[in-house]
Amino acid sequence: MDNLDWAFPSSAVEVKDLTLHYGPYEALKRVSLKAKAKELTALIGPSGCGKSTFLRSLNRMNDLIVGCKIEGQVLIGGVDIYAKKMDVSLLRKRVGMVFQKPNPFPMSIYDNIAFAPRTFGIRKKEELDAIVIASLRKASIFEEVKDRLRESALALSGGQQQRLCIARALAASPQILLLDEPTSALDPISTAKIEDLLAVLKSTVTIIIVTHNLQQAGRIADTTAFFLLGEIVESGTTEDLFRRPKDKRTENYITGRFG
């Protein structure tokens, strides 16, 4: 971990013929996708069709799964993240992830946010304070928690915890943020708050989000890709995909006439 200022040349993501096996099972079949920098790309599709697996390939979280084999290329700003010299820690600093169920650490709100900066060597109180406050602001939760930063993160509501997890990921200064169905467990108001902050965030951070909620993709995604059985059937601007899908399978899925 020599150079903590290291960053990808750009936050554009290009995936070429990505194939992934869990043991004998082929979860992703030659998937190719381009996610433009500083835009929001949504991945839609039925459950179990590879969307989350694909997402986890973008920050090498699949490395944690025993028996997982990957072929193909994942390039971020032209850099192959599966190359031998890629520092996985730095990769995950620059490519953050928020999970479906909020998973705050059983620590104070402050310590949750400060976790990533501390991991990367930032110790001084003033620096940490600044990062914590900025991250909480970007996640639209600062006002709600500013008076209880030393209290446990577990005391927050579900929607607040999820925004906390977003703030925690932002504290690492990511160039790309991956979100796996971030609002599926939340009520409409929390969902709206998070969608609003993502809409603002995408001007500085490339966002890729897996969602089951087609209206959500409609609301905030610039580009949408439709996954089916481990492949991308179709992708394009959200408006084009929703108004005139080119593939019948896409139309069947988004109009709810599936299976």
Partner: protein, 286 residues
Amino acid sequence: MSDLKAFRRSRNFFASLKITSMVALGLSLVALVSIVLFVLIRGTGNITFQLLFGRYGTSPSIWPAFLGTLLLIAVAVGAAAPIGIASAIFLSEYAERDFWLIRCLRIATETLAGIPSIVYGLFGYLVFVVACGWGYSLLGGGLTLAIMILPLIVRSTEESLLAVPMALREGSYALGAGKVRTIFAVVLPSASEGILTSLILAMGRVVSESAVLIMTVGMVVNIVPVSPLSAGTSLALDIYYFASFGYPEEASATAVVLLVFVLSLNLLAFLLARLFERKKGLHGQS
């Protein structure tokens, strides 16, 4: 009509089951309370300052036993805890579930837990008293106890670690933390309550042991131990001594002390658990 009869019959069955289990609970409570009351009634009257803190001269004192017990706890937990916790970390965080070596290790740990304590005592005697040439010593007793409580610590620590949800580890990895930082900054703190509780219960086990100690520490009731290599005694051993050699009042009194000691340990475990619930927010971390 038969449906109604069947319903009535099953309802009566479950009602009687409820009564039966309540009675059983009552019996258990009565048994427990009787023992405690019996000890308290017989022993409390015999507690004197001399017995507790005096020098063992013509009248007995459990002060040597007190020190001995503390030393035993220090040695046993001090030796077993790091090894046990480290082993648990290995089993929970690093080991691949089905690797043959891991399964052997697990079988070994479980087997250790099943060995009768007198056998441990014999082992301790042969190794520490004889082979090491220490003679009877609190150190030897402590180390033997350490081996005895090791499986207990490994098992509960591993359970506490496994109880930490995978989601927390994933969260840590996704923030760029490596495995070591994840274990020490996230997993261990989350499991710390369970681990500490199990350590305290292990202490209780140490305090209750007698068979092992008879064969390793020498039951020297009247001399205050000066070093770990001294021979010594423990509270439990003193009860045996007093009861066998004609000091029944002192035996009862010591039993009260021991009981208070054990109850305090359990109370401590309970209070610590409460404290952790509240403290999780103030956990200053690095």
